[in-house]
Symmetry: C2
Subunit: 373 residues, 2 copies
């Protein structure tokens, strides 16, 4: 008995112990058209790994997709002890399956978990397990351009007890969903609304972690604005431009010194350290054609730059869309128009999109690619 | 069929439709001693009411306590779309069951729900349903002094889909737990640790809502401090004294003008509008013996007042403990001693405790009492 315990549980799970049970009733695959709603075409299987304080990590399992049995007194339902990640698996023309910088998601998830009192894990082992899941769900990854398999690693406190305390048990899992291109009919520029009376994050808080706490309050604010015709919130943190909706925000402008500059908020703990954000900055630094700055700038600096005709383009960046062109900004009842050189996107915005797509879909060889098959 | 739909669903559930199904296998009641851990002696039944965007509210049901089946793609597990409340049912010497200002919890829950994009409900109807649950769980409410039935209304987004969006389905429920006195062996003063590099809430955020987002990040910070011998965090918001752990914070001092004053942070949107907080302020205003002020004051003002011998006592306030005396504060590596006139509590702290207990356990008649039976 003690030996079985020793084998089954350990301080870190290992992909070598992965147990796989395949479904006997595969779901119907979604139609690949613009009606495919993000994150709804959930696949046949999921990866799950349970942890508890006494025994540590159980072995990882790939199981048919199923509901979880959760105690109504579970930590996550009361105190929001959960975190997640988002990344995609892409099918190349040569029929390889690629992930895009997945080790960044794995490392960020370790930090998010620590921020909500969830236990540590070996991120390389999690990635190995996720790759096995991707192989099993291969048939859910379309070969159609722009389509991919969205992967959602998630981790929550399952411990039942109403005391505000560290969860004594938890579940780490990953579900997958076939997703289409974010802009099925080409770029659609967005109108941002900026409100200096609401905030997403703050110094000393957890704005740089991918935890539910950073999302729930924004959903209601965003829904209200969308009913008024705006698309996303341009979040401020003490008047500094922070994020656009759930994306990092970039502006390409002539700065006050007259230099061409790509600027985005620095990683000061209040914004998500986005994988796409980092990729854009790294690509731009390699191109070495203009100044690249991670710095704080206020909404007033941004509005002034628009007014003075110094803004060349602006965009949001994230895994779901890669880049999302911005053509309008409303702040204090005034609408600011942002240039869109190509009609539906700026030239630099489209260049980032094209370059990252080439890497993701394996059209060029790049160190960001992580081969699954 | 359409008629059945019409009867079963509506824009607000009604307690008149409550369906009750009792357990056939009641649990063992907990031993009433100091080993009874808060929020773990969960009772035989729960109240649950489902909602979805298409049909509105289903009828309320009291069912045997059971696990929930939750889709792994549920909103709450990813985006923290949940809120909760905490209140207690007390047994009086005359064998009545009382709630303490439950309408305040119900109203606050409506506001919390709105903040995390969950639908509205009729709070009076929820209270009526909860009262039925309390009647059914009557045998779980000890007659022993200091014991009570803790009630935990909870509400979460159950909608399956990975898009960051308003939940299209949700579950509102209430579980109960027999709880003992917070200080089984009399008051035990706490040592607060104040760190100006971390924050619980911020202007423009959701610090005044009872949502998981305000709790998860604090659990990890608190656990770290507790391992160093401190009890709770004294939270600051831009250097203003905000909350103590998950309690409101009060200081009774001679202010700079030499007046005796009970001070606590004003309801500026960054602190929880506590029921106990409000009760303390209201009682003190009725006594009319000293100045009562809801205002912002900085950690430096507090430390100065301690240094100058102006602080008479300090305490936290919340439903779980009523009041929690504070005898030490550590800030920037310096320990500040706070007077504790009675050895384990200040005189005013104990007076609030005694007065509120008298109301809660029906020793005196008071408008705060809400009769269940």
């Amino acid at each position: 008995m003690w030996f079985r315990q020793l084998v089954r549980f350990s301080s870190s799970f290992s992909s070598k112990d992965l147990k796989i049970r395949l479904t006997s009733s595969p779901k119907k695959k979604p139609e690949l058209n613009e009606k495919l709603l993000f994150g709804t075409a959930l696949t046949d299987h999921l990866l799950e790994i349970n942890w508890n304080e006494t025994d540590g990590w159980d072995i990882p399992r790939i199981e048919p997709y199923h509901n979880f049995m959760i105690d109504p007194a579970s930590s996550v339902l009361h105190y929001g002890t959960e975190c997640f990640e988002g990344l995609k698996a892409y099918r190349t023309a040569k029929n390889n399956l690629l992930l895009f910088r997945p080790e960044m998601n794995m490392n960020r998830m370790k930090k998010s978990a620590a921020a909500v009192a969830l236990p540590d894990f070996d991120s390389e082992e999690l990635l190995k397990c996720i790759k096995e899941l991707v192989k099993i769900e291969e048939s859910w990854i379309p070969s159609k351009v722009g389509y991919s398999l969205y992967l959602r690693p998630t981790f929550f406190g399952s411990h039942a007890g109403l005391g505000v305390a560290k969860p004594r048990s938890a579940k780490l899992y990953t579900v997958c969903s076939t997703v289409g291109p974010y802009f099925p009919e080409g770029f659609k520029p967005i109108h941002l609304y900026c409100d200096d009376t609401i905030a997403r994050a703050f110094p000393g808080g957890s704005g740089d972690k991918k935890i539910g706490a950073n999302y729930a309050p924004g959903i209601g604010h965003t829904a209200k604005l969308q009913s008024k015709g705006f698309n996303q919130i341009l979040w401020l943190c003490n008047l500094y431009v922070s994020e656009a909706g759930t994306m990092n925000f970039f502006v390409f402008w002539h700065n006050k010194q007259g230099e061409k500059e790509l600027a985005t908020c620095e990683l000061d703990g209040t914004i998500l350290p986005g994988v796409t954000r980092d990729s854009i900055l790294t690509l731009a630094r390699q191109w070495n054609e203009f100044k690249i700055t991670e710095k704080k700038f206020t909404i007033y600096e941004l509005c002034d730059a628009i007014n003075e005709g110094r803004v060349i383009e602006a965009f949001g960046a994230g895994t779901a869309c890669i880049v999302s062109p911005v053509n309008k900004l409303t702040f204090k009842d005034r609408e600011y128009k942002i240039p869109i050189a190509l009609g539906n996107a700026g030239i630099l915005t489209k260049r980032f999109q094209d370059e990252i797509l080439k890497i993701q879909y394996g059209e060029i060889s790049h160190s960001y690619q992580h081969l699954v098959i």
